[in-house]
């Protein structure tokens, strides 16, 4: 009886806790009072390391910073190809070109004649920062929290512990301040090296700041950047600033759409430079200060990040124009309405894919990607390979949105390798034919089908769709690898590859001079069993040509080291666009940017060490041109050279699949811009109804478990009583 009473007690407590917690379902991970709120529930898997816009670059950081900070430019949400439009800027920056004598040049002056360019950017007046303690002042107009004393700092453990906040208007000086921060000695901006080549005086400015930092007294952390002038970034008036760029750099506009060029108020820098706050991790890396549609109100990167509507954000509206089909898809229903639509965004950290996927199916996350293990459950191919959601998903109202990423995954040949690379004059042609033969033999259509569940398109060149310069259809086909048959590309037969191999001096995969079988080395960073399957598959592709492929697996650090030193022979790598310009892909094969022997001191991304004089010359010409037929022609020439030289197996461009619940609206995947949350909309009432319907607690298993446990005690209790009441003689016997 005693046990029964306890069990009952536990049950009552358990039920009380569960029922007490919820008007919502028992398995809801959220607060009951949030059930009908206009909240977007999203996921992050990796802890963001830097939310300081001068440092943050990875996608898991930008998904937050892009909602908070406002660079002067942004991408149009609906238009394709990707198009820059003003964000806080009044209009697109005006660009003026000058020669070495400071004389202004005409817009179409040849790039080599341009000594420097001046970008002038005017921002809209009246834009306010989010409420923040850095702006809080007392009745005398003095900063409340810029010099915290011991007592004040003791009561503060997170930003929300500050009782007072303030705001102020965004000014051009804040943008200039941030450009100066690129050279700040205490932060490590990933683009400092690149920008030091372009922004006039940034290199010297870094030296000046370093000396100034070293001269600071002990315990002093704030370095007043306004004391030091940067030639390349100047405030013209309250709402206008100029950036001075070495030579001509049309791609600079794209950088102006990234958080690196978002404004940082000087007050925030002063506020966050207090040691007492730094010791409590209250820094710009944890607590951003922006003018964007959202502000970070709960920053627990181990568990949950919460963005809430910035009450000071106004005067931005949903786009009124889009692409054909957008209107029919309801993407223009909210045209002209003020942004943002969603009040709060809760990002929950899910490190494992299984809980993430299951919570999405239960309606607790509004969107999900598709892992390879849940692909068949989510997606089916119909008709001519068109991907649609399965019937089960469709019944739940889940829909699929796909978009080809502005990325490319390729297999590179190290052009310094004596067998497969440039070699000398004599061997150059044979090595080229060897690379071409391999390009035909490695069947990327099959690869995409097996290892990417069909989520990708075979690449014809480094350029993915959506990038100006990319050509579709017959014009865009790599004629070295494909034939155009019946209106679509068809991979050349393996016989063509074998013939090329023979011409290269390796008939049937044997070196005709030595008689030795051709052995090639594939450097990879393998981790999972799926990686091993991929390597086996790759070996089989080479076996089609009787080439032995030896896989050299290593960890990522050693792999990078091999690439840097040019010790790899064949390797796999990928690239995701920083901005939608052909230059951002074609520079990956630009000779001066090769990994080995690059003496420019810059970062180098040409991992294949490809160095063609003809290609390099065309690249220099192309990189400073505006998009247009003339540039397209040069890009076509460059791509022809690449296809013929085949320094890469062009691999594939991945296709992103995203699942969205019925209540999640205004979705149009945009892989270039990251500030898209302001356009999204949620039907919270529908979501709550669906959640309740999908998550009714099933109680009979619980009752059954209790019953089984209870029954299992019966023989124990019976046996116990029998033993206890038995005589000593019986026990001994």
């Amino acid at each position: 009886m005693k046990i029964d009473a306890r069990t009952l007690g536990f049950l009552i407590l358990y039920a009380a806790l569960l029922f007490g917690c919820s008007e919502t379902s028992w398995n809801s991970p959220y607060q009951a009072e949030d059930a009908r709120e206009n909240i977007l529930y999203n996921v992050f898997s990796e802890r963001p390391k830097h939310l300081d816009p001068v440092q943050s670059y990875s996608s898991n950081e930008i998904q937050f910073t892009a909602q908070i900070y406002q660079p002067p430019l942004q991408y149009h949400y609906l238009k394709r190809p990707f198009m820059l439009i003003p964000s806080t800027a009044v209009k697109m920056p005006s660009v003026l070109y000058f020669d070495h004598n400071g004389n202004q040049l005409l817009n179409h002056t040849r790039a080599e004649e341009i000594a420097y360019s001046i970008y002038e950017i005017s921002i809209k007046p009246g834009i306010l920062y989010q409420p923040h303690p850095a702006f809080a002042v007392n009745e005398h107009g003095q900063w409340l929290y810029h010099k915290l004393d011991e007592e004040e700092s003791l009561s503060v453990n997170k930003l929300s512990d500050f009782l007072h906040t303030g705001t102020r208007e965004l000014t051009a000086a804040d943008y200039v301040y941030q450009i100066k921060r690129l050279a700040h000695p205490n932060v490590h901006s990933p683009i400092y090296g690149l920008m030091a080549d372009y922004i006039v005086g940034l290199n010297k400015y870094a030296d000046v700041l370093k000396k100034a930092r070293d001269a600071l007294q002990e315990g002093e952390f704030y370095l007043d950047l306004d004391k030091y002038v940067l030639e390349g970034a100047q405030v013209i008036d309250r709402y206008t600033y100029q950036v001075k760029i070495n030579g001509k750099y049309p791609q600079f506009n794209y950088w102006l759409a990234m958080p690196f060029f978002a404004p940082i108020p000087r007050e925030a820098d002063i506020f966050y430079s207090q040691k007492k706050l730094i010791d409590k991790n209250i820094t710009l890396d944890f607590y951003p200060v922006g003018t964007g549609p959202y502000m970070l109100t709960d920053d627990n990167p181990n568990l949950r990040m919460v963005l809430e509507r910035n009450p000071n954000f106004h005067d931005e509206f949903y786009p009124s124009e889009g692409m054909p089909g957008d209107k029919e898809n309801g993407l223009l229903d909210d045209a002209g309405k003020p942004l943002p639509f969603i009040d709060k965004v809760i990002f929950t950290r899910e490190k494992e894919s299984i809980p993430h996927w299951n919570k999405f199916l239960q309606g607790y996350y509004d969107t999900s990607g598709i892992g390879s293990d849940s692909f068949d459950q989510a997606v089916q191919l119909v008709g001519q390979g068109e991907a649609v959601v399965t019937d089960v998903m469709a019944e739940q109202g889940i829909r699929l949105e796909t978009a080809v990423a502005v990325s490319t995954y390729y297999m590179g040949f190290n052009m310094l390798d004596p067998v497969i690379g440039w070699g000398d004059e004599q061997s150059r042609e044979s090595a080229r034919k060897l690379r071409q033969a391999i390009s035909i033999a490695v069947d990327y259509e099959e690869f995409i089908s097996i290892f990417a569940n069909g989520r990708g398109i075979p690449a014809q060149s480094p350029l993915p769709p959506g990038i100006p310069g990319y050509r579709d259809g017959k014009e865009g086909v790599n004629s070295v690898v494909y034939d155009w048959v019946d209106g679509e590309p068809q991979r050349k037969s393996i016989e063509v590859a074998k013939a090329l191999l023979a011409e290269a001096g390796y008939p049937n995969g044997t070196d005709q001079e030595t008689g030795a079988p051709l052995v090639l080395y594939f450097d990879v960073t393998a981790r999972s069993s799926e990686d091993r399957s991929r390597q086996d598959w790759m070996r089989k592709q080479f076996e089609k040509l009787n080439i032995q492929l030896v896989v050299r697996s290593t960890d990522y650090n050693r792999f990078q080291d091999k690439i840097r030193k040019g010790n790899a022979q064949i390797f796999e790598w990928g690239w995701h666009a920083d901005y939608p310009d052909a230059e951002n892909f074609l520079f990956l094969l630009h000779g001066p940017q090769r990994k080995v022997g690059n003496n420019s001191g810059n970062s180098a991304n040409n991992a294949a060490n490809y160095d063609s004089a003809e290609y390099n010359q065309l690249f220099e010409q192309m990189k400073n041109m505006e998009n247009g037929p003339e540039r397209q022609q040069i890009i076509d020439e460059m791509i022809d050279i690449l296809r013929n030289d085949a320094p890469w197996l062009w691999g594939y461009h991945p296709k992103n699949y995203g699942l969205y619940h019925a209540w999640y609206q205004n979705i149009k995947p945009n892989r270039m811009s990251n500030n898209n949350i302001k356009y999204y909309k949620i039907d919270a009432a529908l979501r709550e109804r669906q959640r309740k319907e999908w998550n009714e607690p099933v109680l009979w298993p619980l009752a059954l478990i209790i019953l089984v446990l209870g029954l299992s005690f019966v023989p124990a209790i019976t046996g116990f009583r029998r033993r206890e009441s038995s005589t000593g003689v019986r026990v001994i016997s």
Partner: protein
């Protein structure tokens, strides 16, 4: 006893230096300071100068353990090992490679780890010991037989299976508790029910068998026969005499883990989204964050040593014959 404790603490110092040295060596065999810099700075536009600057700012541009360029003691002290290790002896863990304060992180993550580990430990101890005593009470009967079979079955299943199976059945199919997540305060309960239950089931087999073995060994001793001869009932013999005499081996296994409960569980925290120290350690290893890895290994060693000292002290409490000197 005080002199014993002081002596043990002094013994701990060379052990901790050794642990630090081994961690340091293992870490830097796999990762160079350049690798660490690249991991933090990214690989896209990072320049050699940026890597050097990152290393210089964090003191990773110095020699690892011996500085030939210096004189006398500075040859040892002006090295990465010395600079990064010595401060930990006063529990100054420094900053992670991303700039965050490690001590602050440890403080904020201890409670979530403890929220799972403590109930599993306390409830586990009660349940496993009770179950083991029950099996011993019914030794050589079908209850004992099937109990042991159940224990072996529970031991044979991977803990990952319990986690995924538990999430699938209890959360996904029956909708009784959230699949994963965490909240502070009283709201934590609904998130903890499943991981704690799984933690209890996952360790039930091995622990029960271990306690059963201890109790069976005690059952064969003379004092048990004496107690029975005095006419004491079997449950009094078990719970009053056998349990008390079996406390020394039980404490050996139990007390030593108490301080380490703070460190959390790597797998459970990861799958249930608990922001504890276990997931902190895993993240640090994945991101090659040496200061965090080093701090967590050091903390683990310190807590383990504290656990051992507590174990020794606890012996004196349960067995008056033991004196620490």
């Amino acid at each position: 006893m005080l002199s014993y404790i002081v002596r043990r603490i002094l013994y701990a110092i060379p052990i901790l230096i050794g642990v630090n040295l081994v961690t340091f060596a293992l870490f830097f065999v796999v990762n160079t300071p350049d690798d660490m810099a690249r991991m933090q700075l990214g690989i896209k536009y990072v320049t050699p100068e940026a890597i050097e600057k990152w290393k210089h700012d964090r003191g990773y541009d110095k020699p690892l353990v011996f500085n030939k360029a210096e004189q006398n003691l500075d040859q040892i002290t002006n090295t990465i090992f010395f600079e990064k290790s010595m401060a930990m002896f006063v529990f100054d863990f420094g900053r992670a490679d991303d700039g965050s304060d490690i001590g602050q992180e440890i403080k904020s993550r201890m409670m979530p780890s403890l929220a799972i580990a403590l109930p599993v430990f306390v409830l586990g101890l009660m349940i496993y010991i009770t179950f083991a005593l029950l099996l011993v009470f019914f030794r050589a009967t079908y209850i004992d037989f099937w109990g042991v079979v159940l224990c072996v079955a529970l031991m044979s299943i991977s803990s990952l299976f319990y986690i995924i199976g538990g999430q699938f059945l209890i959360s996904k199919m029956w909708h009784l508790v959230p699949i994963s997540g965490y909240e502070g305060g009283i709201n934590a309960i609904k998130f903890l029910i499943l991981p704690v239950t799984i933690g209890l089931i996952g360790s039930a087999g091995a622990s029960t068998r271990w306690y059963r073995t201890i109790f069976l060994e005690e059952m064969g001793k003379e004092y048990v026969r004496t107690a029975r001869a005095k006419g004491l009932s079997e449950h009094i013999v078990l719970f009053k005499h056998v349990l008390r005499n079996a406390m020394t081996p039980i404490l050996t296994g139990a007390v030593v883990v108490i301080p380490s409960l703070f460190l959390g569980s790597l797998l459970v925290e990861s799958f249930f989204g608990i922001p504890g120290l276990g997931s902190y350690t895993i993240d640090a290893i994945n991101s090659q964050d040496f200061p965090v890895v080093r701090a967590m290994v050091f903390l683990g060693s310190v807590l383990y040593i504290i656990g051992l000292i507590l174990t020794d002290i606890s012996y004196t409490l349960v067995d008056p014959r033991i004196r620490l000197a």
